[in-house]
């Protein structure tokens, strides 16, 4: 049987002696670690406003001051007064409204059609009906991909036109991504985004409201999904209220 010199009792003792830790060293090491952690936590706390504001920035694409001939209301709370101000600064400006299929509530007559609401609100803000053009198409009204494809089609028919598209602030990066994927580059380049802040919060204070936190979270989830999976809009099955009523009838 062979024996390894490094594992003899003498060598083990020597090795142990060579790495012997002075008394109090371990305690000091922990003290330094705790102090470093506290310093870091304090710095994060003191710098929380720029840090949290910075957390929202990757979601935002705001190409202001946006310059174009047309403006398309496509999202962002309280967008109509801001669109009206934009139009008042540019006398030749026109508003483009996208009109796809009716939603369930619109079809039932419970809600006015989207373009009717937009026309009414813009009219209230002093925009004349002559300055508004409606572009019709087919497809699910709530689907961003379908809307952007329709808008891309219209832009291809109007090669000299530059447009400004309003959007929610934390959804703007995702919209830019979809826009760039649905339109040829030369068409997409003619679209500028105007990321309108929510009336209750923006990137400088989103963490102070539950709605802001959820909006930021959903913004990242939506953006990540769009980057990873692209267009999944064809995967859609509509809820059928009449069929649901029949299942309730059968269950009785």
């Amino acid at each position: 049987m062979t024996s390894d010199a490094s594992s003899t009792p003498e060598s083990t003792a020597a090795s142990t002696n060579s790495v012997a830790v002075p008394a109090g060293y371990s305690g000091r090491k922990w003290l330094y670690r705790v102090a470093a952690f506290l310093l870091l936590a304090g710095a994060v706390y003191l710098g929380r406003v720029p840090l949290l504001t910075g957390l929202a920035w990757p979601l935002i694409v705001d190409q202001q001051p946006a310059d174009g001939d047309w403006i398309v209301p496509f999202g962002g709370h309280a967008q109509y007064p801001q669109i009206a101000r934009w139009c008042q600064d540019r006398p030749a400006a026109r508003v483009l409204l996208l009109r796809l299929d009716l939603t369930r509530l619109e079809a039932l007559g419970v809600e006015p059609r989207g373009e009717v609401v937009a026309q009414r609100e813009l009219g209230r803000q002093g925009i004349s009906a002559d300055a508004i053009t409606i572009v019709r198409g087919t497809g699910r009204a709530g689907c961003v991909w379908t809307n952007m494809r329709r808008l891309g089609g219209w832009l291809a028919e109007h090669p000299e036109t530059r447009i400004v598209l309003t959007t929610s602030r934390f959804g703007s990066r995702r919209l830019r991504t979809i826009l760039d994927q649905t339109m040829p580059p030369e068409v997409a380049a003619r679209v500028q985004l105007w990321a309108i802040a929510h009336p209750w919060y923006d990137e400088a204070n989103w963490w102070q409201r539950k709605e802001g936190v959820l909006d930021l979270f959903n913004g990242y989830i939506g953006l990540g999904y769009t980057w990873l999976c692209g267009d999944t809009s064809d995967h859609w099955q509509e809820f059928d209220p009449d069929a649901f009523d029949r299942t309730l009838e059968v269950a009785r």
Partner: protein
């Protein structure tokens, strides 16, 4: 063997195992992901009850389900919470959610006398549970079917049970389907993925409180 190369070798193995695990999870996603969604669904079949309470936040589906429950005789009345106004409703651009829900109920054949408002303004499911608790104080024997989306039933049940205490047995949860996706394919659409991710985040926050 030198420590660095040993570490690199370990790292290589860890990367290989992680990669294989990811590939395995990806290949098994159709079997693994539906249970993730079904965990959130604690809905029950309908029971003959006094009221259907339509929770706020889904006026394009939930009121249709409540109307169906009324029309097929499962409930005698429909309860509506007064949902806090959205910025659009505050500015008069859109109708309030309560108004929209009431209009859907009317359009689907529920008479106005069968619709009742819950007291107090509600900004969350917890507020709705507190409002229902007040109603159950006045009507201690009432049974209520709570209509909400499938993915919301687990968190809603926890919130209502916390608010109602001993009266928790008087409420039952009815699942309203989702537009566009179901528990079997929720990860295949951005709406579905966002919705379930959001709900898990809210559930975790609720459990931590």
């Amino acid at each position: 063997m030198k420590p660095l190369s040993r570490r690199l070798k370990r790292l290589g193995w860890a990367a290989l195992v992680s990669g294989l695990l990811c590939v395995g999870l990806f290949l098994a996603r159709n079997a693994l992901l539906p249970p993730v969604a079904r965990f959130l669904d604690v809905s029950e079949p309908p029971l003959k009850s006094d009221y259907a309470l339509v929770l706020g936040g889904g006026s394009d589906v939930r009121p249709f389900v409540a109307a169906g429950l009324y029309k097929t005789g499962w409930v005698k009345q429909v309860l509506l919470p007064k949902v806090k106004l959205s910025p659009e409703a505050e500015q008069g651009v859109m109708a309030s959610e309560q108004e929209t829900t009431a209009r859907v109920l009317a359009a689907r054949g529920v008479p106005a006398e069968a619709v009742r408002l819950l007291p107090g303004e509600c900004a969350s499911t917890a507020d709705e549970a507190a409002s229902l608790a007040l109603l159950l104080d006045a009507e201690p024997n009432a049974r209520v079917l709570i209509v909400t989306h499938t993915f919301h039933t687990r968190r809603a049940r926890s919130i209502f049970h916390r608010a109602l205490g001993a009266r928790a047995g008087q409420v039952h949860f009815i699942a309203a389907p989702t537009d566009g996706y179901s528990a079997d394919d929720w990860w295949q659409s951005d709406d579905g993925f966002g919705c379930y991710a959001n709900e898990y985040m809210k559930l975790a926050t609720f459990r931590l409180r």
